[in-house]
């Protein structure tokens, strides 16, 4: 039995110590916001925070995590940096298919928490581990800058004066 603390809740899980955190989150605890993309820490889709640091959960053995605080995309909006990042993601319409975006948002939130006003080089360094196959990188960069400065980035197509749609305003059914 291993105790892991995820989003401020303790979970006692009966799994092998070498089982990656990703699969404990997804298949045991039932938090599916964290995604599987490669299994070898090359794509960043599985990024979570451990004690506030962005890490790749697909290669992180759960046995090493007792006493550490894990935050996933489901709860990152409760942090100041995470909320600012999510709001900017909505405002700038970063998302396409969305599958990598949990990981992008976790990496970007950790960056903003540690570097309040990141340069382009800071963004490159923090975000280069996150692949987006849809190619949303241009807007990711804009959204991080907007989240950092609070100044709306001039977009060519979106009137930034329009409020972002409230989360959950339009839900799609299964």
């Amino acid at each position: 039995m291993i105790t892991v603390t995820v989003n401020s809740r303790d979970h006692v899980v009966d799994v092998p110590e070498d089982m990656p955190l990703l699969w404990v989150l997804r298949d045991v605890i039932g938090l599916t916001g964290t995604k599987f993309g490669c299994g070898i820490a090359q794509c960043g889709a599985c990024t979570v925070h451990v004690d506030g640091q962005a890490v790749r959960s697909c290669v992180l053995p759960v046995g090493s995590l007792s006493g550490h605080r894990i935050t996933t995309v489901e709860a990152v909006g409760e942090t100041a940096a995470g909320k600012r990042i999510q709001d900017a993601w909505l405002d700038i319409e970063v998302v396409q298919c969305g599958y990598c975006q949990s990981g992008q948002i976790m990496s970007a939130s950790a960056l903003l928490a540690h570097v309040p006003d990141p340069s382009d080089a800071d963004i490159d360094a923090a975000m280069a581990g996150n692949i987006c196959r849809c190619g949303t990188y241009v807007r990711i960069r804009q959204a991080i800058k907007q989240a950092a400065t609070g100044q709306t980035v001039a977009m060519q197509t979106i009137a930034n004066t329009a409020p972002p749609m409230a989360a959950g305003a339009s839900k799609s059914t299964q």
Binding site: F36, G37, I40, E74, L90, Y99, G135, Y137, A162
Partner: protein, 730 residues
């Protein structure tokens, strides 16, 4: 439960009339004010649709469900895989229905070719940049029909002339009497109204939604992890499965020792398939650990000697000796002048959508239930029926949001495999492919070997143009009914047979090539144009260089009869400061094309280091895709499409040795990352022309712009992709 009767004739008959699959065929859709005859809209009158539609009060057609209370439910005929189609299609309906987008919810369509086929494809499928082109008028008509019936119901109830009523945010008003009624209150009566045979569509000047930058309806759930993709579905009693597939396509399991696998805690069953072995377990980690512990002896099968080197030598030979089929021939190729020719070669490519292939399948004695994100719901239903022996109406498919498609999810192979596994057990199974499996068992984009030539006059301008494409046909397997009577596959030369330039003497032809049996090839984002535009636009650059002319000046001379594309070229040349001085090692490339009913021009500026590393510095694109439904999406698709295309052009090649793919994962099948991505400016040209496709245009134009920039920076002409390998070899 009240439902409109299904008007005859059925839409299936109409689809037949369109000639079925027709890549590049543009539905005649006018933007201007129109009294449109209403296509026959079948109501959901079969079992699958009834189960999905939730029994609304009012279902005037397959796309709209109005209940007594709550938001209006819209059923999406296409699938959402990042391209923004759910928002665009919802807006098309909502515009004519006088609803705002915060008043609707979206539902995935069940598999049903009669109700949800994409007319340009002849079946319920999402691909080929056809969705907006095919459904632009259809969905507006669907909304207008529903509005007319709701307004008609109010007019009857209040005994007033329908023309005196107005609608705002789904509430019908009668100004003179001050009466009003919400759609929900009118739904039951609307269902009794006659279905109009003609409706007046809005004039573009009255659009409230279309043409404005719309926020996507799926974004909020995609920033907090709430949006379920297929891979996130969990059903009670479910086990997770991993499959070890034979490394060579067409190979078989000779023997398997599963003792070690079965000993792993959490492993449930080991299931021997023909071409692989599946392990199920309590979670992915157990299944994966079990799969890794299998000891399998393979019969490597008929393709055990296949290699990329053999493939290209066969392509080369076929190009020289094979019998071509002419795609298009105009003018007289016998012209005086100097011949310039080149061979262009393009590799096989993997799709690698971020969400690995997966499916949740529950096979019961009387039914099969499937949860999957697919571009082809009906094909999924059919493969499950075939594997289980159940009738298709006993196969229930719950489509999901797709974590990328790019053509990989136009195939149902992985779903068929999941059904084979699930059929062997009495519990639901979620099959997840590893990334290694995704790369090694893709249904890849085929390789091409193209021989292009031009005769140029004394000014260096082309007076005759021949283009011989050699490669395997995807269409012959995927939609054989769409192949021309003489065997010609129009996808092979799309983007090559009608270049936007003034080329009065032209012949484009295709030499069919057969892949070894058991090595299927598939659609890849941008399909034919992605391969052909690289060659055509690189070759135009070669001709410009041979003529001693600037690539923009040269193209401009050839576009004098094509003002729409010429305008894009001039716009990009201007916005990108094409003529401004360049530092050393910096190059600029330009490329243009007319594909998927749209027109595009892109400039990319790069720097090539002495070590021949390619750094993209900036890019400027101009797009004319006719009337723009959602500019927000157009910009995103051009940016993302370019990045997808540049990734392929710079890095990608799927290579085979001894029958097996040599690449494994993102460590050796490289993806472009944020630090490699330049700023990309997108200029959208205002147009009232027919709606064009947008999901693949950027991808198709990316490689030639980049290849031309490499030439500009280094003097090296890349005629064999990928670019980094070509630069290494140069």
């Amino acid at each position: 439960m009240t439902r409109q009767a299904c008007p005859a004739p059925s839409r299936r008959a109409v689809l037949r009339g369109t000639g079925g699959f027709a890549l590049g065929f543009l539905l005649a859709g006018r933007v201007g004010p129109a009294v449109a005859s209403v296509s026959p809209f079948p109501a959901p009158d079969n079992a699958a649709a009834a189960a999905a539609d939730g029994h609304p009060e009012f279902a005037p057609n397959a796309f709209i469900r109005i209940d007594r209370t709550g938001p209006v439910r819209l059923v999406m005929p296409n699938v959402e895989m990042g391209q923004g189609i759910y928002t665009s299609e919802a807006a098309l309906i909502a515009e004519e229905l006088d609803l705002d987008l915060d008043q609707v919810t979206l539902e995935h369509a069940p598999p049903n070719n009669e109700l949800y086929a994409t007319a340009l494809l002849g079946e319920q499928a999402t691909g080929g940049s056809t969705s907006s082109r095919a459904n632009w008028l259809l969905l507006r008509q669907a909304g207008a029909v529903a509005r007319a019936m709701l307004v008609g119901a109010a007019a009857q109830k209040w005994t007033v002339d329908a023309a005196t009523l107005s609608v705002e945010r789904g509430v019908v008003h009668h100004a003179a009497s001050g009466r009003s009624a919400a759609y929900g209150e009118l739904a039951e009566a609307a269902a009794q109204q006659p279905v109009p045979t003609k409706v007046t569509l809005k004039s573009p000047k009255d659009f409230r939604l279309l043409g404005k930058p719309l926020r996507r309806l799926d974004t909020p759930q995609k920033v907090d992890g709430a949006m379920p993709f297929g891979i996130d579905i969990r059903v009670p009693g479910m086990m997770t499965a991993c499959v070890v597939a034979c490394p060579t396509n067409g190979g078989r399991v000779a023997s398997v020792d599963d003792a070690a696998a079965r000993a792993i805690p959490g492993v449930k069953d080991v299931i021997r398939l023909d071409d692989g072995v599946a392990v199920t377990g309590e979670h992915f980690w157990a299944a994966k650990s079990g799969a890794d512990a299998l000891r399998i002896v393979w019969d490597r099968g008929p393709n055990a000697d296949f290699s990329t080197a053999v493939l290209f030598s066969q392509l080369e030979q076929t190009s020289r000796t094979g019998k071509p089929i002419v795609a298009r021939q105009v003018g007289d190729l016998n012209q005086p002048g100097k011949t310039i020719e080149a061979i262009y070669q393009l590799p096989m490519l993997a799709h690698a959508p971020m969400e690995p292939l997966n499916a949740v399948v529950h096979v019961r004695p009387d039914a099969c239930e499937i949860w999957v994100g697919t571009q082809v719901p009906v094909r999924v239903q059919n493969i499950a029926a075939k594997v289980t022996g159940l009738p298709t109406d006993k196969v229930i498919v719950h489509n999901q949001y797709l974590g990328g498609g790019f053509g990989r999810r136009l195939e149902e192979d992985s779903v068929g495999q999941a059904v084979r596994v699930a059929k062997a057990v009495d519990y639901p199974v979620k099959l997840i492919w590893t990334r290694e499996q995704d790369i090694q068992h893709d249904i890849p984009r085929p390789a091409y070997y193209d021989h292009i030539a031009a005769i140029v006059n004394t000014d260096g301008m082309p007076v005759a143009w021949t283009d011989r494409v050699t490669g395997a046909s995807v269409l012959r397997r995927w939609a054989p009914q769409a192949v021309r009577a003489d065997g010609f596959d129009p996808d092979t030369t799309e983007g090559a047979d009608e270049p936007p330039y003034d080329l009065p003497n032209l012949q484009a032809e295709w030499v069919p090539f057969e892949m070894p049996k058991g090595l299927p090839i598939g659609w890849w984002r941008g399909v034919g144009p992605t391969h052909n535009l690289f060659k055509v636009e690189s070759f135009i650059d070669e001709l410009a260089h041979a003529a001693g002319k600037d690539p923009v000046v040269y193209r401009r001379a050839l576009l004098q009869k094509n003002p729409r594309v010429l305008a894009l070229l001039d716009l990009v040349a201007d916005k990108s400061a094409w003529d401004s001085p360049r530092p050393t090692r910096v190059g600029r490339g330009i490329a243009l094309g007319s594909v998927f009913g749209s027109h595009v021009c892109v400039m990319v500026e790069i720097e090539v280091s002495p070590e021949r590393e390619v750094h993209l510095r900036r890019s400027v694109a101009a797009i004319d895709c006719g009337f723009v439904i959602n500019p927000n999406t157009v910009e995103a698709q051009i940016q993302g499409g370019l990045i997808f295309g540049w990734t392929g052009a710079l890095y990608s090649q799927l290579t085979y040795e001894q029958g097996a793919v040599q690449q494994n994962n993102f460590n050796d099948y490289r993806m472009m990352r944020i630090n490699e991505t330049p700023p990309i400016e997108v200029h959208i040209v205002k147009s009232s022309a027919d709606v064009g496709g947008i999901g693949e245009v950027g991808t198709a134009i990316a490689a030639p712009a980049l290849g031309n920039a490499v030439f500009s920076a280094t003097g090296i002409r890349v005629r064999k992709l990928p670019i980094l390998a070509a630069l290494e070899a140069a």
